[in-house]
Symmetry: C2
Subunit: 431 residues, 2 copies
Amino acid sequence: MKYSEFFIPTVKDAPSDAEIISHKLMIKAGMIKQSSAGIYSWLPLGLKALRKIEQIVREEQDNAGANEMLMPTIQSADLWIKSGRYDDYGKEMLRIKDRSGREMLFGPTNEELITDIFQSYVTSYKELPKNLYHIQWKFRDEVRPRFGVMRGREFLMKDNYSFDISEEEAKNSYNKMFKAYIKTFLRMGLTPISLRAETGPIGGNLSHEFQILANTGESTLYYDKELERLNPEKLDPDNLQSYYAAVDDQHDENNCSVKKEDLKISKGIEVGHIFYFGTKYSEKLNAYVQDQNGKKIPVHMGSYGIGVSRLVGALIEANHDEKGIKWPKSVAPFTLSIVNLMPDDQNCNTKSLEYYSYFMSNNIDTLYDERICSIGKKLSDNDLIGTPIQIIIGKRDLSAGVVEFKDRMLNKSKKIKIEEVKKVILEKINS
Amino acid sequence: MKYSEFFIPTVKDAPSDAEIISHKLMIKAGMIKQSSAGIYSWLPLGLKALRKIEQIVREEQDNAGANEMLMPTIQSADLWIKSGRYDDYGKEMLRIKDRSGREMLFGPTNEELITDIFQSYVTSYKELPKNLYHIQWKFRDEVRPRFGVMRGREFLMKDNYSFDISEEEAKNSYNKMFKAYIKTFLRMGLTPISLRAETGPIGGNLSHEFQILANTGESTLYYDKELERLNPEKLDPDNLQSYYAAVDDQHDENNCSVKKEDLKISKGIEVGHIFYFGTKYSEKLNAYVQDQNGKKIPVHMGSYGIGVSRLVGALIEANHDEKGIKWPKSVAPFTLSIVNLMPDDQNCNTKSLEYYSYFMSNNIDTLYDERICSIGKKLSDNDLIGTPIQIIIGKRDLSAGVVEFKDRMLNKSKKIKIEEVKKVILEKINS
C-alpha cells in the first residue's frame, strides 16, 4: 500500500478525555475516531490491526475444532425472559422496541440464542461434542464508557459455546479452550496469566480469566514466575491451572502456594474469560439430548469470551514507547515500512519501488511511504503507527551502497548493504 | 473440513413462510436459522458463503483504490437531525434511547457519519480524491420482512463514499465504481444489468442500479443483448451506460433505442445501487476543503451500495435446481466435496484421505464427507449444499480403478481413473 493512497489521518494531539496511553496513541495514529460516547469508527489502519488480531483468534478457534458461525446483533427479548436474565442485566442492556412494539435488545452476549439454535437441531449424544463460535459486535451500555476501545459500549467479542454430554466431557472442552486461549495470546507476542475467577451473572462454578502483562495495566497480579515461560508446544491445561496466580484483592501472602523468590508481581489487563456453567441454560431453554441409554438429559455447557477490540488497546498498552506504538510482528497493521526520504530523487524512487514490489510479491504487508513531506514527519509517523520493521532510504546512504534498517521493537537501527536488504528483511520477518 | 466435524444441520422441510426458493434452500441446507422476523443467524455453511462473497466485494473495492474502514452499527441521532434525514426515514429506522436518554439509532446507511469523519480530517484538495468503504451490518425495520436474507431487517451491506473536488472528478469516481461493480458481479458468475435509476431519499441526479439475471427474479428487465456479453478486461463505463436497459414499468416499446431483435427480456434481482449526489451532505455537514485557489468549497460526493447478504440469496435464485443449490466456484462454501460412500471400507478410506490431504495442501476448500449414513443421504446432502465439484468414492469403482467425478453446475458425472483424479480436479478448479 502506498502511504498517500491510504487514509491514515495522524493527529498531533490526543483529546483531553483520553486518559490512557492506548487511547491516546490510537487517536494520534489515526486508527479510530469516536462517534459517540464509547462508540468508535475504525479508520483503515485501526481496522487492519483489528482484523489481524481477529484472524489469530479465529485460527486458534478453528485449530481447537470450533465451528465459526454468526449470530445477529439484534435479538428478541423472549429468550432472555425465559432464561431469567432479562432483568439481571439492568441498564447495561441496550433495549429496543421495534416498529410493532416488540421488545428487542442489542446482544451483550449469546448464551440464550446459541442454546436455542442448538436445541432446534441437535437431539442425540452422537452429535456431541459441539463447539460453536462467532466474532460479532456486542453492546453494553456502560454508565461511564472510557479508556477508548478498552471499555467501549460497542465492542467486538469472540464468544463460543461448548455442548457436551457430561460434566467430564465438558471439562475436556473447557481445557481445550483454555489451551487455545494461551496459544492465541502467545501468538500475539503477549504474556498471558490465567487466574481462577468468579463466575458472576453467567453462572456455574468453574471459571478462569486471562490477563496479559502490561506495565500500564489496570490490575495487579501475583503469580508463579513459571507462567511467564510457557512453551506453546507443550501446554498442559491441568498443569497450568495448578500454578499460583491471583489479583491483588485475592492475594494472601500467608496463603500463597508459591515460594517468595518465585512469586512475581506485575500489572495486567483482562482480555479473556471462560466459564463452565453446567446445565443452567440447557434446562431453562430446553436443550436436551438423548444419552447412550435413550434417556433425555440437559447438555453441559461452557462459554468462552475474548475481547477482540479490547485486545487492540491491550496490545498497545503492552507495546509502546514515547514515540508511539511498537506492534509485535504477528498483529502489526503493516509488517514493513519502506520510508523513502527523497521521493523527488530518482535513485531513491527506483530503489524504493524495487523493494516495494519485491516484498509485496512475497506477501509481506508493506507500507510504502512516498509522501512529499518533511523527513522528520516521515520518520515520526512510521514510528507512531509502529511498523515493526522499517527500511529507510536516503540519497546519501544509497550513494554509499546502504540503506537503514530499523527494528522498531528494539528501537535499534543499522545500515545494511543494498544487495543484502531482501534477504536480511525476509529473514527478520520469518524469524 | 470433515463433514462430521462441521455443523451443517440440513433439514427435510422448509418452513411454510419460506416463499421463495433461495429462502427454502438456505434453510434446508442448514445455512441460516431465523431468530426473529427478518433476523437470521448464519450457521457455519451460510457464513462461509457470505464470507466468500464479501471477499470478492472487498477485493474489487481495493482494486478500485477504495480504503476499507468500519463504522459502528449504533449512531447518535445528532448528525441525522443536521442532515434532515432523521424524520425522512420514518419507521424503517430502528430508534433507540440509551441509558442517559440520548437518541441513538441502528444505522441503515452511513452518508452522515462518513461525511462527519471526512470533514474532521480532510481540509485540502491535495488530499482528494478519497474513497472509503466498509462492510457492516445495517438494520431497516421493514413492515413486512420476508424472502429470507433477500429482504431481512438486519443485513450486511458494503457501502462506500467518494469525495472529490469537482463534479467532473466525482463522475470519474462514479465510473470507477460502476466498473468495479460490473467486475464484482461477473467474478461471482452472475450476469449484471445496469440501469439508470431514481435517486430517492439519498438525493442527487445521477444513479444506477445493478440487477443480476435470475429466472425467479422480482423484476422484469428489458435490455440490449450486448449487456449479456461483457468482457471483464474491457469495461468502458461510458459505453456501458449508453446501452438500453429498463425495468418493466419504465420500458416503453415506442421509445426504446434498441432494435427488436437485439432486445432481451429477463427476470432480475437488484443487488447494488450507486449515486452521485453532489454537495447535498457536504453542505449540511460542513465538509468543505480548500481548492487550488484557496477558496473553501463543499466536496462532491457519491455513495455506492452492494447488498452482501442479499447476494447470497440472489446467487441461489440464479443457481439452483430441484436437488438444491448449484454454487458458482468462486463463491462456493466448499469448492470440492470428497464423498466417501463406504467409510467402513479400508480402501475407500485410504483413497479418500489421500485425496483430502492432497487437495487441502493445495489450498482447495474441501469438504470430506466421511459420515456413517446412507449413500442416498450423502449424495443428496452434497447436491443440496451445492458443492460445484464432487468426487464420489465407492468400493466397486475403486476395484475398477476409477472414481466418479460430478460437475454439479452441469449435473454431469463421469468416471475418471484414480491416477488422474488430482490432475483433472485441479485443472477443473483452475479453469
